[in-house]
Point group: C2
Chain length 150, copies 2
DNA sequence: TTTTATTTGTTACAGCTGTAACAATTGAAT
DNA sequence: ATTCAATTGTTACAGCTGTAACAAATAAAA
């Protein structure tokens, strides 16, 4: 029994994700010179304020080495500053600088515009269907740790 | 205005794709020792019979270097054989060997089982919603060449 | 015919990624 | 108190990826 790759869910899901990512990457990559891990780190800190690297990884579904490298890069841009915890000196508290926050707000605005444009393209019905489907995948497959336990 | 990353479509789409891919990768990676490009190449040839490398890339949304390397690897396993076209000697016709076909059928069966299991997990309504949403993304964003023109 | 452009596929190179090992620190166990 | 385990974050290494340059063949243009 043959398999139709173009109708196979893992393939379609990856393709859709790549199509959307490629469009959105124009905003943070071409426009602001960020990688995807850097963008996610910026977005997480912009949303939550001060956090640790481990917490960023947990919230943004990124491997700790990705977070580590993204933090380094954002620090060099002076978009982020580290503060070692007084009581537990393994921990570093990370927060955006004023410049980091300014850039975050600009990118967040573009992100909202992007999502709004996507919703217009797909139409409300299809967009809602997509939301529902993705939420279901996350609910049923996303319970364990992400990324897979070390 | 803050942005909720965990509610942002490009993020959710990528996360869902990774969750599903990671599960399915167990089948072709851990079970058969294939990379994703190799699996896609095998699946495309299994579905269509003889094809050229360019056609495989177009149908499976893969960059030509990925296809080139996957073909090399499958050839070394003796899962695939090349035949240079007589009339246009730039072109190579690729086809699975008997061993390649045997492995394709085994993996296609597991793939069907995987999709069926996924449908059971999500439930028909959510599964259909996902299908609808993904089809819409492909319809509205997937018209241009993939990957982006050389 | 000769020159130029296009197509098909491969490869060198540089960049990104996760695994595994690691240093440093803290917590638990004995 | 000492030993062992767990946590936090970094880094060396090997593998995968796309870009760009390339060789070979064919098609188009002159």
């Amino acid at each position: 029994m043959a398999l139709a790759l173009e109708a196979f869910i893992p393939y379609k899901l990856n393709r859709a994700a790549e199509l959307v990512s490629r469009r959105f990457a124009v905003i943070y990559k071409d426009h602001a010179g960020l990688t995807r891990p850097e963008w996610r780190t910026l977005a997480t800190l912009g949303q939550y304020g001060t956090m640790t690297a481990t917490a960023i990884g947990a919230h943004s579904s990124m491997h700790k080495t990705k977070v580590s490298r993204a933090v380094q890069s954002l620090e060099q841009r002076n978009w982020l500053k580290r503060t070692t915890d007084e009581k537990d000196r393994r921990v570093e508290h990370l927060a955006l600088t004023r410049e980091g926050e300014r850039n975050y707000r600009a990118l967040a605005k573009l992100a909202h515009a992007f999502e709004s444009g996507l919703k217009d393209m797909l139409g409300t019905r299809d967009f809602d269907a997509l939301q529902r489907g993705l939420a279901s995948v996350d609910k049923h497959l996303g319970t364990e740790a992400f990324p897979p336990a070390n």
